[in-house]
């Protein structure tokens, strides 16, 4: 018999939400098919080839990102040094930085005239060429984005290992390797399937990076084919067919990942007792950190250096910039809040369920936004808004908030899901025997334990919408623009210095959110106790 407390309300709320999200996706596809009329879709692309190429690329990205993420989380968990919070913030910022910004940062390090090539020319007299293009370029950019994100999530899991366990481990004199096996791996294991699925989906549906760094049509994703079906051919039936293919492949990955049983993780506050690994392990940790910093942080630092130069004052002097910044903040805050509500409802309901099938089904809608191509989703939203009789201009803020919340949802659930599962499994019996109600369970047990994770999740969701360019592109107007849209427009008007300045400011805001919000919520959660 299950030791889980009975929480019918939580389960009902989660089911309702899951059904609502699934319904929204169906409505979106239906709206596009309805707009397509009876046009015969003759797709001009080789779907099998696209699926094969995209799967190879996404598979490589996932494997590399998880490996790199685990190594980096391990190093960051052990090392203490000045500026560590900033480095952690930078790594966390990678995932939500617009793809274009990261790609250009990457090029300024690895490109033909990048720092690495310049150093190589100065030191050895030859240039390394252009490693940043083609499949290697795509993988490099994806691993920077996704590996850093994986590291941040896994670091949170390692930081949450209770100090009592560490003390026991230390008193037993565990070697660095034994500690990984006995303490770190079990703590990280529960997050890996969900994380892996997210990274696979991100890489599978990647668009601007694949186009910019891929080198040409040889390296393409289904997403690009869908974009061209909608944009160039106006072949909406073909686009929906391609989208259905993409949704089918992605759903398979999602179902596999959500069927994985999460491993119970003991939770505790992240007061860090210092764990001294041996000198060999510490050397390795520093090596990992230095390599990762060159790989991850330097491209972002170069974005900051480029952007905080000439264009900055000109940008700050524009009323349009401040209005766009205010809009971005409003949209970001609203969608982060919506994401929190959705993610909590879904995760709490899922954690309260004992049956495996129900848990799998409840896990799936979380990934809606990653499975459905962004161009299809934004087009569908646009059509739905029109069908409901609103002008896109009036509905724009609400649609952008909802779409951004869906965009952040998989990340939010990956952050909150495993710890909530762990609470239900490890403390379910206690909660039952104390006879706590659902709200008491939340405020007395779950919220205090989740403080830091909620802060991290809010930071993620806030920054996702701060960096979004996919949804706003179709809904933006002269009076309703966000900072990324303004950046994109500056690039389109030769103003690359202004664009660089906006990119740098976005990055700074992201880092502040990532360093500040988890701390704030840890404090709030502490107070709630």
């Amino acid at each position: 018999m299950s030791t889980l407390p009975q929480r019918p309300l939580r389960i009902a709320a989660a089911w309702t939400l899951a059904m609502a999200i699934a319904g929204l996706i169906l409505a979106v596809l239906w709206a596009i098919l309805a707009a397509a009329g009876d046009g015969a879709g003759n797709s001009r692309v080789d779907i099998a080839h696209l699926v094969r190429m995209t799967t190879i690329q996404a598979g490589l990205t996932t494997g590399l990102s998880l490996g790199v993420g685990m190594a980096l989380a391990w190093a960051l968990n052990r090392l203490r040094f000045p500026g560590r919070d900033l480095i952690v913030g930078l790594f966390a910022a990678a995932i939500v930085t617009p793809g274009m910004v990261v790609a250009f940062g990457l090029l300024s390090i690895w490109g033909r005239n990048g720092w690495i090539n310049e150093a190589s020319r100065a030191l050895f007299g030859f240039s390394l060429g252009n490693p940043a293009f083609g499949l290697s370029g795509i993988l490099l950019a994806h691993v920077i984005l996704d590996g850093a994100f994986a590291a941040r999530i896994l670091l949170a899991r390692l930081d949450a290992v209770p100090s009592s366990r560490l003390k026991v481990g230390q008193s037993l004199g565990l070697s660095a390797w034994k500690r990984i096996q006995l303490i770190d791996w079990p703590a990280m294991r529960g997050s890996l399937p969900g994380l892996g699925a997210i990274i696979f989906l991100l890489a599978f549906t990647s668009f601007p990076i694949v186009l910019l760094l891929g080198g040409g049509p040889a390296n393409q994703t289904l997403e690009v084919a869908i974009y061209s079906a909608v944009r160039q051919d106006f072949d909406l039936v073909g686009a929906v067919r391609l989208a259905a293919t993409q949704i089918a492949v992605c759903s398979l990955v999602i179902l596999l990942a959500s069927a994985m049983p999460p491993v119970p993780t003991a939770l505790g506050r992240s007061a860090q007792p210092r764990w001294q690994d041996g000198p060999g392990a510490r050397g390795l940790q520093w090596l990992v950190l230095v390599i990762a910093s060159i790989g991850f942080a330097l491209p972002l630092v170069s974005v900051l250096i480029d952007g905080l130069g000439t264009g900055l004052l000109r940008v700050l002097g524009q009323a349009a910039f401040w209005w766009a910044a205010l809009t971005s903040l409003g949209i970001g805050a609203s969608s982060a809040l919506l994401t929190l509500i959705l993610a909590l409802a879904l995760s709490l309901g899922r954690a309260a369920l004992a049956g495996r099938l129900g848990r799998t089904v409840l896990g799936a809608p979380t990934f809606a936004y990653l499975a459905v191509p962004a161009v299809v989703l934004s087009l569908g939203f646009f059509l739905l808004v029109r069908l409901l009789g609103f002008a896109p201009g009036q509905a724009a803020p609400i649609v952008v908030i909802i779409a951004n919340a869906l965009l952040a949802l998989p990340f939010a659930v990956a952050t909150l899901g495993p710890p909530l599962d762990a609470v239900a499994r490890t403390r379910g019996k206690l909660i039952r025997s104390l006879g706590l109600s659902g709200s008491q369970q939340f405020w007395r047990v779950e919220f205090p334990l989740l403080g830091k994770d909620i802060g991290l999740m809010l930071a993620l969701a806030f920054c996702f919408s701060l960096g979004d360019l996919g949804v706003i592109a179709l809904f933006g107007t002269q009076d309703f623009q966000t900072l990324p849209l303004m950046m994109f427009r500056a690039l389109g008007a030769y103003r690359s210095n202004d664009a660089a300045a906006i990119a740098a400011l976005l990055l700074v805001a992201t880092i502040i959110a990532f360093v500040g919000l988890p701390r704030l919520f840890e404090r709030l959660a502490h107070a709630a106790r």
């Binding site: 707009a35 186009l211 061209s228 944009r231 029109r386 724009a396 592109a473 500056a490």
Partner: protein, 335 residues
């Protein structure tokens, strides 16, 4: 928690209420692409100029992410579109736009325009033009190629960046350019270019940034692009390479939508836009040539730009019937 919710709601209502104001004056709603409506583009100055002469009207720009995006948007919206006008299609997609049946005749006399070739279009009014060209930095490229064949013959580490013809109008322009210059040999030219293509980007701006960052030796852009660097940055090093086979021109056009209830005001706007008054805004905001002779009002830097002797053209019907096949030919050759 409650505090931040009400704050979020306040922000929401504040934002959504903004566009509802000012409905009593006749309003011209114009769809255009992002760059055109941006702080740096011509949009704001054009509204200011026209609102001063129209006798109490308002111009409202709605920007889509690309010029083809504006057309798709009105196609989706059909008769219910808010748009009175589209500003920013080009001659390569004019045939397709015409075929939608969404556009009304402009009824203007455009015989006095200064364009490469005569303008006889009944629905679309040209508002600027430039020839597509590869731009290079004279500080790093001493001997730019003078034809596609010279470019192909260069060592493979001479790299160019181009745009995807499925998402960017210059990318489509290059497909048409090569087709107009080489006809049946186009696939061969693309195959020859393949080793030189560093990457194919979605937007013009991505390509141009790669070029400015020194990742590529040349980027597909316009003969007028150097004017921006000369005028706004005082930088003389960016030039357009002139090709012996001739250049394809992009002529940007505007058209009135049949569904608009502001036909007269829209015509007035287009007439003003195509006059010297409206045109003098274009060169230093959209960085293209005006379609009328501005004499002293055109920045002298534009006069120093070398221009191709030969303009290549293809007919609307030809493009409408074949562009999909030509794009496939290009994709197959560079894949």
């Amino acid at each position: 928690m409650i505090k931040s919710t009400s704050m979020a709601l306040a922000v929401l209502f504040g934002l959504s209420a903004a566009p509802i104001l000012a409905q009593d004056v006749p309003t011209l709603t114009i769809y255009t692409y992002d760059g055109f409506a941006s702080e740096w583009g011509p949009g704001a100055k054009l509204s200011e100029g026209f609102e001063a002469v129209c006798g109490g009207c308002k111009v409202n720009w709605i920007a889509a992410d690309s010029s083809i995006g504006t057309l798709r948007r009105v196609q989706l919206e059909g008769d219910t579109t808010e748009a009175d006008l589209i500003v920013g299609l080009d001659t390569a997609i004019a045939g397709e736009a015409r075929a939608t049946g969404l556009f009304a005749d402009h009824g203007l006399d455009l015989s006095g325009l200064d364009l490469p070739g005569e303008w006889t279009d009944a629905q679309f009014v040209p508002f600027d033009y430039s020839h597509f060209a590869f731009v290079y930095d004279a500080d790093t490229v001493a001997n730019p190629p003078r034809s596609f064949e010279e470019l192909i013959a260069l060592p493979e580490d001479f790299k160019i960046v181009v745009q995807d013809p499925r998402s960017a109008t210059p990318g489509l322009g290059l497909v048409l350019w090569i087709k107009a210059a080489y006809g049946d040999r186009a696939a061969e030219i693309w195959a020859g270019l393949k080793p030189h293509i560093l990457t194919v980007t979605r937007d013009w701006s991505d390509s141009y940034s790669l070029f400015l960052d020194g990742e590529a030796d040349m980027a597909l852009s316009y003969t007028t692009s150097p004017a921006y660097h000369r005028i706004d940055e005082g930088d003389d090093s960016i030039h357009a390479a002139l090709f012996e086979e001739g250049h394809y021109a992009q002529i940007e056009v505007a058209g009135i939508l049949r569904s608009s209830d502001q036909q007269e005001l829209a015509q007035k706007f287009l007439a003003w836009f195509a006059s010297a008054e409206g045109q003098k805004i274009i060169p230093t905001t959209n960085w293209m040539f005006p379609v009328v002779d501005l004499d002293g009002d055109l920045d002298p830097a534009f006069a120093t730009l070398p221009q191709p002797e030969k303009t290549l053209t293809l007919s609307d019907e030809d493009i409408l019937a074949n562009s999909a096949a030509w794009i496939d030919e290009m994709l197959a050759a560079v894949q």
